[in-house]
Symmetry: C2
Subunit: 406 residues, 2 copies
């Protein structure tokens, strides 16, 4: 008897449950004897003996396709080094109790690290296990893969929201607000902010300034640019990554809190930029911080993103059942026009803890916009709509009935 | 020859252009000889001789149905008192130059004031004019009418976004964020924040605390409540009106800027509440400020709201052509189950400058939730979806080709 463990880790996305559905439905399709245990809150569920036994679930697992965030709960939790042998002995004992030989860990860079540690510890200790990472991150910053499931949907949300807000301020700018700032996620990589460029077309500019963590803020150039926008268009729309840096390389807006990986808690950039603009230019502003709204907006998910999220889940199962370990399904771009992609395989050693930032050729010379090469990369990822079912005016997002295993 | 003036005023909504379409298409249907001049940026367009001549527009006016914000531009502009006779003489001279006898002003409380002044000045000066206000405000705070076009869509957006963000934090709360705060619009009336209650059902609670301008903040009760939520649910979701007041009646988060009506510019409540929670309870938080995003989100508009926005535009034309002036179409609720509504007529004297706040019976005893009576009122307004056309992954929102008149 061989069973499977599946868990979700790190910041969730609006399509991570689609990857869960890919894994679970493919396992069931290929080998009905495999029972799936889902970790309650990621690897923490395994360590605390809180595993959902999915054979007990009565509702249809296809509900996963419609619901954003992590159906089984996620976590931010760093595994100890491999030298902590007792920790891993205990972990494999827990897996062995459920005859688990397939380990699927659905997450980003940190989660790839977790999965790699589990794969290597299993080899060291001779525990038979296929440990496969399933890619997920709104940040689009995983190495090796062309893009990451979860990103396309947040990109679609940011491009759409920027365009909508831009139409709003365009209506008002004659006698009211002149500058609108939207703060988006993106700690080290500016992919999400960059996606705001997709609001623009050759006919019309909706987003005027994009502030990336990759480009240190030149305040004078920024303020001059805002003034020019207001002169030329009547207003300026700024989309800023939370991870924007000063020209000394420090975060423009940092707080004191840190998470368990030591990452600084961010947030508060938009009001700080608004204050700068108001102090220096005396322009009326509005600002918005999209925070969790951007990454949970399943109502505006990208169809392409959903398809890729499903495909990496399915491929992870193929890898596991063919005995691979320490690997991750990746998305390979075959062509741009028409956009074609296929699934390949990446080694977790080339992925764990690495971050892929925006390449220079995607950033315009002025540093405040995205090049057409960058747009060509981004555009296919937001194509297509797939609306969830609504009930009483709000998305239904029905949750599964989940039961812990004995 | 009798022509018409139409303009948009005050903060825009995702469905105000639907009202414009109601006015313009109904005028055309009833009397093809009427030419429509749209004010560029509201009444300011009239005062500055910037009128769009819609007979010059080549694109199909039905584009208005899909696009959020004000297609013709809006304004925040206060007309002088009626004693300033010269101002109004000049205004009517401008209207007369275009043979304008129908005046449609699409806005909220302040705009009703503008429209009422124009109606009364026209009577005083013997200028033949039907001045009709067309209701529009996301704030839902107009008197006499049961609800306001523009509100249903923002309510749908807030209920949906709250539910989505709640699923997100629910996934993460075991090892990460415990409190999420969403700041929404609502200066004096808490209708928008109240709509977050629509995320909740008898089966599941997604929003735990709603902070209204109508209820002065009791910090101790609020902090105790958050602690209880974290204990009972693992996390707490707070939706807060920007106009929340301290227990001394002053705004909890005010800035120094004011608009031309003397209204204080708000924003920054969410980070302030987050700081309070972090200081007092040491809980990890995230916060979001939806600002313009909430009122421009045409991609998530309420079908009911769109229908009502259209209907008030159509009815405004009927009122104008039958010689009424100083009035506004209102929405009357005929029944709740099933929800039925009809259009009636309200006197601007009972509407201008007044604000309808949330009635006591809609606010729960604890002050942090909405009663079932309140939900019964709110729920019909967010029913139904009507998605805009998408192009290249973002809503198309094609804008009209507009030409100023000679």
């Amino acid at each position: 008897m061989k069973n499977a463990f599946y868990a979700q880790s790190g910041g969730v996305t609006s399509v991570i449950n689609m990857s869960a559905y890919g894994v679970i439905s493919e396992l069931s399709r290929l080998d009905k004897s495999i029972n799936v245990y889902a970790g309650q809150n990621g690897i923490v569920g395994l360590l605390e003996n809180n595993l959902y036994d999915l054979s007990k679930t009565k509702k249809d697992l296809s509900l996963l396709k419609d619901s954003p965030a992590g159906m089984f709960g996620s976590c931010r939790y760093k595994l100890p080094e491999l030298t902590e042998k007792e920790f891993y002995e205990d972990l494999f004992k827990r897996l062995d109790q459920k005859s688990i030989r397939y380990f699927f860990y659905n997450g980003g860079n940190d989660s790839a690290d977790t999965c790699l540690k589990v794969a290597e510890a299993a080899k060291d200790q001779g525990y038979e296990l296929s440990a496969i990472a399933v890619p997920k991150t709104i940040d689009n910053d995983l190495a090796v893969t062309d893009n990451c499931p979860g990103f396309g949907s947040v990109a679609k949300y940011i491009a759409t929201s920027s365009k909508e807000a831009s139409l709003d301020i365009r209506s008002m700018c004659k006698t009211s607000t002149k500058v609108f700032i939207l703060e988006v996620m993106g700690r080290h990589a500016g992919w999400i902010a960059a996606s705001a460029e997709l609001a623009n077309s050759s006919e019309d500019t909706f987003v005027h300034k994009i502030l990336l963590p990759e480009v240190q803020l030149d305040k004078d150039a920024f303020l001059d640019g805002i003034q020019n926008d207001v002169k030329n268009y009547g207003y300026s729309v700024v989309v800023a990554s939370e991870g924007l840096k000063n020209n000394d390389g420090n975060l423009y807006a940092a707080s004191d809190s840190k998470d368990s990986f030591g990452h600084t808690q961010l947030g508060g950039l938009a009001p700080k930029l608004a204050q700068l603009i108001n102090n220096e230019l005396k322009l009326k502003y509005h600002w918005s911080v999209s925070d969790y709204l951007q990454r949970s907006a399943r109502h505006l998910a990208s169809k392409t993103d959903l398809e890729q999220a499903f495909a990496v889940g399915v491929h992870a199962v193929k890898l596991a059942l063919s005995g691979e370990t320490g690997v991750m399904p990746i998305i390979k771009r075959v062509s741009n026009n028409p956009y074609k992609w296929e699934i390949g395989t990446g080694d977790l050693k080339d992925i764990a803890n690495l971050e892929k930032t925006l390449p220079k050729e995607y950033i315009s010379e002025c540093g405040f916009r995205i090049t057409s090469e960058g747009k060509q990369y981004l555009s296919p990822l937001i194509q297509g709509e797939n609306y969830p079912e609504f009930l009483n005016g709000v998305p239904k997002y029905e949750q599964l009935d989940l039961f812990l295993s004995d």
